[in-house]
């Protein structure tokens, strides 16, 4: 900023003093959010790479394990998550326009979709649990390669489990910004937290977009390689 004289003119209450303008503050914040999302790409990327290596190494057992996924619950959950992304995007849009009540409404619908996803995931988890498909001492699988199928289920539980954890954290974040929006903390000028939580929510959606075909689809009708 070239203007070095003391400036006591009114500025947005959301502007922190180490930033020159609102735009600069928003740009810096969005970039910071993306840096965090890159660390999330690394986090999930490691698991996806592990999945690929073992899928290549134990192709047959991977198909066997994959055929025990519930195709319809997985598909419904994909739709639920995509709907939640739409309401999240509309919520962020409403916050850009300063429509306070609409922001809160869209965020609450987003939370409902998020809870719906966790409930469906819970139903699936329960089914796998009672069928002895949780890796460990009680794992049982009737087939020639139970150890390798167990490995598939390890990846299944770890990847969907961490995804569900992210959804759970997301629900908490969305609830927080919904509360803050209700209190009138954000307006046309300053609504960056809503945007950043939106970025997080959509990122978690993208992770599921890849998990869904990899776990539920690519082997569900195929018995031979």
């Amino acid at each position: 900023m070239s203007d070095s004289s003391p400036n006591f003119t009114a500025h947005s209450p959301g502007l922190q003093h180490h930033f020159a303008t609102m735009e600069q503050q928003t740009d810096a914040s969005v970039m910071g959010m993306w840096v965090f999302l890159v660390t999330e790409i690394m986090f999930f990327g490691g698991m996806f790479t592990g999945y690929m290596i073992y899928r290549y190494t134990y192709y047959g057992p991977w198909l066997e394990g994959s055929q025990h996924m519930d195709f319809w619950w997985g598909t419904i959950n994909t739709a639920v998550l995509l709907c939640s992304s739409l309401t999240m995007a509309l919520g962020v849009r409403a916050s850009q326009l300063g429509q306070r009540r609409l922001v809160v409404a869209f965020l609450l619908i987003t939370i409902l979709f998020g809870v719906g996803l966790l409930v469906i995931k819970g139903i699936e988890y329960h089914g796998h649990w009672v069928d002895g498909q949780f890796p460990g001492a009680h794992f049982r699988f009737a087939g020639p390669n139970p150890r390798q199928v167990e490995l598939f289920f390890s990846f299944y539980w770890a990847m969907t489990g961490f995804h569900a954890l992210h959804v759970l954290i997301g629900i908490g974040l969305v609830a927080y910004i919904a509360y803050r929006s209700w209190k009138g903390a954000y307006g046309r000028e300053y609504h960056n937290p809503v945007e950043n939580v939106g970025l997080y929510w959509h990122f978690v959606d993208i992770v599921w977009i890849y998990l869904y075909p990899l776990l539920y689809l690519i082997s569900h009708k195929h018995v031979s390689g």
């Binding site: 790479t49 995509l82 993208i206």
Partner: protein, 95 residues
């Protein structure tokens, strides 16, 4: 950078495309395409991910270059991880 506000119509169209692509990938899993099942599924998933990233996450409207550099660097890192791990795994013919 002045903030870009996408229209409601854009978001709803993107959402409808995402739902159609989900139906397409679910339907495609019933076809017997051998190794191409995974290729088709990944192509559709990448289309969906691009729609979410470009429109919902607003990557298309980011005007700040350094943010784009961060995103591309992250994806490039993922490319290195996957490609080097897989070329190693696939080329171990002596196992």
């Amino acid at each position: 950078m002045s903030e870009h506000i996408a229209t409601k119509k854009t978001y709803i169209l993107v959402w409808m495309s995402l739902m159609c692509l989900t139906a397409a990938t679910a339907g495609a899993s019933y076809l017997e395409l051998g190794r191409f099942n995974i290729v088709l599924a990944m192509v559709i998933a990448t289309c969906k991910a691009l729609l979410v990233a470009l429109i919902f996450m607003g990557v298309k409207y980011i005007s700040q270059k350094i943010t784009l550099v961060v995103i591309v660097a992250g994806l490039f890192w993922l490319f290195i991880l996957v490609s080097l791990s897989m070329t190693d795994t696939i080329s171990r013919s002596w196992r």
